[in-house]
Every structure is written in structure tokens, then in C-alpha cells.
Amino acid sequence: MKTQLKSSLNAGITFGIVSLFLYLIGFTTTASQIIQNLLKLKPASTVLGMDSLTFSFALFIGLIGLWAGVNQARSQKGQPFGTVLLSAVLTGLVHGLIVALAAYITGSLNASGVKMNTYLSQLLPASVKLFLFNQTPVLGALSQLAFLTLTALVGAAVTYGLMVSNVFGKLADAWRSMWKQVNAVPAIAKFRASPYFSYVMYSLLLLVMVFVPLRAGQYWNYTLGTVGIYVLLGLGLNIVVGLAGLLNLGYVAFFAIGAYTVALLTSPAPHGLVWNFWLVLPLGILAATLVGVLLVVPVLRMRGDYLAIVTLGFGEIIRILSKSDALTWLTGGPKGVNNVGGPVLFGWVFDDVSYLYLIFLSVLLAIFVTRRLQNSRVGRAWESMREDETVSRAMGINILKHKVLAFAIGAAFAGLGGVLFAARNQFTGPEDHNMMVSINVLSAVIVGGMGSIPGVIAGAFVLKGLPEILRELENYRVLAFATLLVVMMLVRPAGILPASRRKFEHENAPGNEGSKQ
């Protein structure tokens, strides 16, 4: 009982702090506005006797209250109904007290004319009023207390009911048994096991990739293109980090080399070379690979953290060099390079749709190469290195050679990505290649699932596509995004689509690529 009491208090305090934090940074107001928009409520309309924004706010804070209750019920799994409710009420009360106190204090200050937004910029009078449900400080605080306690109670009761009746378990069972039955149909089982299944899936994917760019419009094609380039980068880094287990934090350097190669060789300034894009494309990949190999050989004897720090520094050095005034004659300096040449085929200039096709094609190529390498002696050597370098070496694996190989292929993908990026934007400059690129790509690999190709794709969508979708959140984009990442890592610690292992023992055709997800 005592431990339960303690856990209820702790949970209440945690939720209280979270709500307080959201309030102080003004997120409660923003979230209410978003809910109002999502529900398509007119600002002037009233719902349940409240104006629509207050109603939206009640929904938002109510959700947090419910969550506290759900959380409490889940942590008290197996306890009797009374205990669960009691602990939820306690959590709700503590949560409510903290929130009510904050509401009362800020409300009173606001009422007596103190301008709190001079100290905390987001505490606008309107926000404070909204936090009090547009009522007097006393009434508003009491409403918060009552409301948060009530929602915790409701959340806990509903969760208890769901847990006892095991609704989700039954649903999952039903789904599984249905899936089993479907697969038991001989024709379907045979189809799924045959290589045609993967052909059909790939054709469907191909159709989507052909038709989406035609319909999506320029803005989304641009966004999809960025996602595609990040998939490319992610696939490269996936080989280095996910397969070979080498933490490379300066991955952006190879991206920069690809971008600058195409920029400097195809732009009229500063060198006036204006070479053909198709000639420069392989040159960019080659340059990135070469630099990757040359720079990495001396560094590779280092392990883990040291390698990470050195590569991090290397990424920054490339950027600083490209920015330096002394090298402006070579790199275009801080202003970057304009008028980068794009692809032209038989006199026909690529538009957004065909350029997106080019990116898709590159991604497919990278997937192809990754899969073939992964399912080979080289891929196995990489993975064993990641697991235990010492033992891997004792298996006869030349560690240095395989590390260089992983770096080189990773750099090649990044070089290709850089070429495509600069040529599409018709511009490249130092700020295209800051550390955030490395961090973002690494996040995509980790969030998606290390070592997994579908994972990298999903990760790139989350990292580069989602922020575009979250544009509505404006200032809170980063916050929402960070929250999302944290939640995702808690819910799926191995990534969204973690790597699945290839089956060998019960596979009839060894080396059959279609059998690996």
C-alpha cells in the first residue's frame, strides 16, 4: 500500500510538472488552437456552453488528465478495482493541485495587472485566461483541480475495464487467427512463398513511385525529393553505423563533397567550367568515395567514441573550409555557389517530376546495392564486426579492410545524395552542410531501426517529411518533434521497422532475395 501511495504521488508530480511546463512555454494555447482547427470549429462558436477555444483547451488538458489515469491503471495492473481507482484519484489530485496552484497564482497576478509575458514571453494574458477556462482565478483553479481528478478517474476506470476484459488482447488474437486463416488458404500461402509475391509488391511500389509525383504538385515533390535524398544518405550511413557499427558523426562531409563537386564543375562561377551534369554525377560520387577512404584510413584504428569525435570534427572542418574567405576563389566562400547545372537529356531539361524520378531511381539503386552486400560474405563480416570486433577478427576477417569498405560505400551514397541535392536546388553553400545534416541522418537511421532498409525509409519520412506536415505547429515544431522521437524510442526502442533476420534453415532456395524483408 505504501509503495502504491508513493507511486501515485510520484506520477501526480510528474504529470503536474509536465502540464506546468507546457503551460509556461505557451504550448497549452497553441495546442488548443490546433485542436480548434482540426475540429474545424469557428472561433466565434460555442460548444457545451464554452467558446470553442476554451472547449479545445478543455479537450487538451482533459487528454493529459486521462493519460495520467490510464498510466496509473496500467502501472497498478493486477490490483483490485478499488485500489486502482484510489491511486488514480490521488494522482489526479496531485496533478490537479499543481496545475490549479499555477493557474491561481498566474491568474491573480494577471488580474492585478502584472505583465508576466515580460518575464516569460509565452505567458500572454490570453494564455493565462485560457488556462483558467476563462473564469476567475479561484473558480478556474478549482475547475482545473476537479477536472484533472475526474479525468484521471475516468481514464483509470476505462483502462481497468479494458485490461480486465482484455479487449486488446482478444482483438490481437482475432487479428492473428484471421491472418493465419488467410495464410492457410493453399493458394495464398503458395503465392506468398513464391517469388511472384515480391514481384507484385515491388510493382505496386513502382506504380506508386511513378504516379505520386505526377499528382503531388511542386511543393510536395520538393519535399518528397528531400526525403528521398535523406533516404539515400540514411542508406549510406546505415551501412557504416547500422551494419558495420562505426559511429560516424561527420557523414555530412561526404554529402558536401558531392554537392561541391557538382556545383563547382557545372556552375559558371567561380570557375566557369559548366560541365555536363551526367559527367559530373559519377565524378561527385568518386570524389566523395576517394576522400572518404583517404581520410578514414588513419582514423580507423580508433574505436567507438574517438572515431565519433574525429569524424564529427572532420565534418565541421569541411564546412569551415568551404566557408573560409581565403578559399573563396575555390569554393565560392560563405555565399556559396549559384546556378548549379541540372540534368538535361536530349535537350530536355528535367522538371520537378522527372527530377523526383531521378532521385527515386538513385534510392532504388542504393537499396539494391545495400541488399546485395548485406546478404553476402561482406555483409556478414560487417555485422560480426559490429557485434564483437575481436572475435570477428579471429574469424579471419580483415577488420581494417572491411571498415574502409563500409566507409567508402557510405561515402559514395552520400556523394550521390550531395550531387542530387545541389543540382536540384541549383545552389549549394556552407550552411547546407552543417552538423545538423549528420545528426538528422543518424536520427533517421536510429529512429527507423538500425540495419534495416525499410527502417531507414520510414526514419527519413519521419525526420524530413513529418516536419513539413507539422508546419502548423510553427514554434513548437522542434518540441513536438523531440517529444515524438522520445515517445517513439520508448514505444519501439529498436526503431519503427527494426531489421529482421533472413531465414536460412527453412528456406528452400538459399540466396533467394525475395525471402528477406
Partner: protein, 260 residues
């Protein structure tokens, strides 16, 4: 007699500590040779000197007459020596079969370029590699567990998988470091039979570190005893059992009573 492995005056020091001191050893081909000794006697360190993990300060290690000194562990594997580890060191997230296939690395040739193009030669080699891995899986009695992640296998199975992985390089000499550690008497008896099979069916020589005296006495052709890094005795199991220095090293108990 063909000599598989010979060490001459091998010395390995860690700072002031002499972990292996002047050890001479001659392992005849196709024999089971055991190295025993109390905890910290330097047995594992001795293995590390043979397999290239450590470079001995003094002495030489000869494998079929050829010196292994200065070779890296991967090169030594190519010469035909494979080992297992005292604390199991499998590639834990990889499947059992994949672990064995990593063990086959030194026998395969496909380069990265061949892997991307999938040349007929590479496809053939890969197919044979899977076949061989399955065969080894069967050989160590793990058929049906091939697609399990190594870390999900039961303890005894992990020990056997480690042996299968070592065998995958088709070694001429196999170094086992306490293969029965943590096993019950039944499993230990199985392991004894299995070690015999390794020698008889595969014709390889075996160097064995072992604490379980019953196992050592039952399985070995010859035994060497290390104590504080020095070889204090060598001989047949009966000779070792009756050697007074050995009895002293093992706390004065008669060997027959000693079971670690």
C-alpha cells in the same frame, strides 16, 4: 609423429605479472591435449599467445613447423587454427546459421563487387556456404535452431554453436577454452563424446582447457599443468593424477576428489 603445434619458451607479461612463463608444449597431430591449472594460472593468456591476440615477449609458436609470431589473428585463422572462448562470445543478434557462416569467412572468396553483381561463382559459393552451415548445425546437434538469434539459444546450445562456428573455417587445430563450464554432468558427458567425435571424424587436433577433472582425465591423450604461468608437469592422465606437484597446486587434495 607429426607435430601440429609447438610452443618454445613462450613468455607473456602484464606489467610486473608474468602470466605465461617459459612454456614449452608439443601437440601431436590428431591428439587431444589438455591444459589444466588453477584459476589465474595463465591458460587463457597462453591461448591468446597462440591465436595472435597477444604477442609473446619471448619464445616462438610453431604451427606445422611454421612460426606464427607477428601474424595477426585473422592471418592465423587462415593458417588453420580456430578457437572458442571461456565466456561464450557469439555474435548475439545474428542467427545461429549466420554465426556459422561468419566462421566460414576465411574459406570464401566473394568480394564486394561480386556480391553486388551476383556473379554465378558467388551465387554458387553462397549456396555451398549455406549448405555447409546447415551440415555443421546438424553435426553439433542443433538442427532446427538455425534461424534463432544466437542470444536466444539455451546455454549448452550456445557452447556447441561456438564450436560449430570454429569448425566452419575447417581448422587443423581447434582450441577449446573450458567447453563444459557451467554444464551439468549429463551435458559434460555429451561434450566428452563430442570432443572424441571431433578428433575421430574430422581428424583435427584439439587443445583443451578444462577445469572439470573427470572430463580432462577421460578425454585427454596428454595433459600439461600450468601454475603461476609455469608448466609444472606434463604426461598421460594417470601420470598427472599421481604427480605430487600437481596435487600440491590443486590445494593438496587428491585429484580424484577434485572437481571444479
Amino acid at each position: 609423429m607429426i607435430v601440429a603445434l609447438e610452443t618454445r619458451g613462450v613468455v607473456k607479461q602484464f606489467g610486473g605479472l608474468v602470466a605465461v612463463n617459459n612454456v614449452d608444449l608439443v601437440v601431436p597431430e590428431n591428439s587431444i591435449f589438455s591444459v589444466i591449472g588453477p584459476n589465474g594460472a595463465g591458460k587463457t593468456t597462453f591461448y591468446n599467445c597462440i591465436t595472435g591476440f597477444y604477442t609473446p615477449e619471448k619464445g616462438d609458436v610453431l604451427f606445422y613447423g611454421e612460426s606464427l609470431l607477428g601474424l595477426s589473428p585473422d592471418q592465423i585463422t587462415y593458417h588453420g587454427i580456430a578457437r572458442t572462448y571461456q565466456n561464450i562470445r557469439l555474435f548475439s543478434t545474428m542467427s545461429a546459421i549466420e554465426n556459422i557462416m561468419v566462421g566460414e569467412h576465411s574459406r570464401l572468396n566473394a568480394s564486394w563487387a561480386e556480391a553486388i553483381i551476383r556473379t554465378p561463382r558467388m551465387v554458387k559459393e553462397e549456396k555451398a556456404a549455406v549448405e555447409e552451415a546447415r551440415r555443421l548445425l546438424n553435426f553439433v546437434g542443433l538442427a532446427g535452431l538455425g534461424d534463432q538469434a544466437a542470444r536466444n539459444l539455451p546455454y549448452g546450445a550456445q557452447r556447441r554453436l561456438e564450436i560449430a562456428r570454429a569448425l566452419a573455417s575447417k581448422p587443423k587445430l581447434l582450441l577449446l577454452d573450458e567447453p563444459t563450464a557451467g554444464m551439468n554432468p549429463n551435458e559434460t558427458a555429451e561434450m566428452v563424446a563430442f570432443v572424441h567425435r571431433l578428433r575421430d571424424e574430422l581428424g583435427i587436433s584439439i587443445l583443451l582447457i578444462e577445469h572439470d577433472m573427470r572430463m580432462v582425465m577421460g578425454v585427454s591423450d596428454r595433459i600439461a599443468v600450468l601454475d603461476y604461468g609455469e608448466k609444472i608437469a606434463e604426461g598421460s592422465p594417470t601420470e598427472i593424477q599421481n604427480n605430487p606437484r600437481v596435487i600440491e597446486a590443486y590445494l593438496g587434495k587428491p585429484m580424484s576428489e577434485y572437481e571444479a
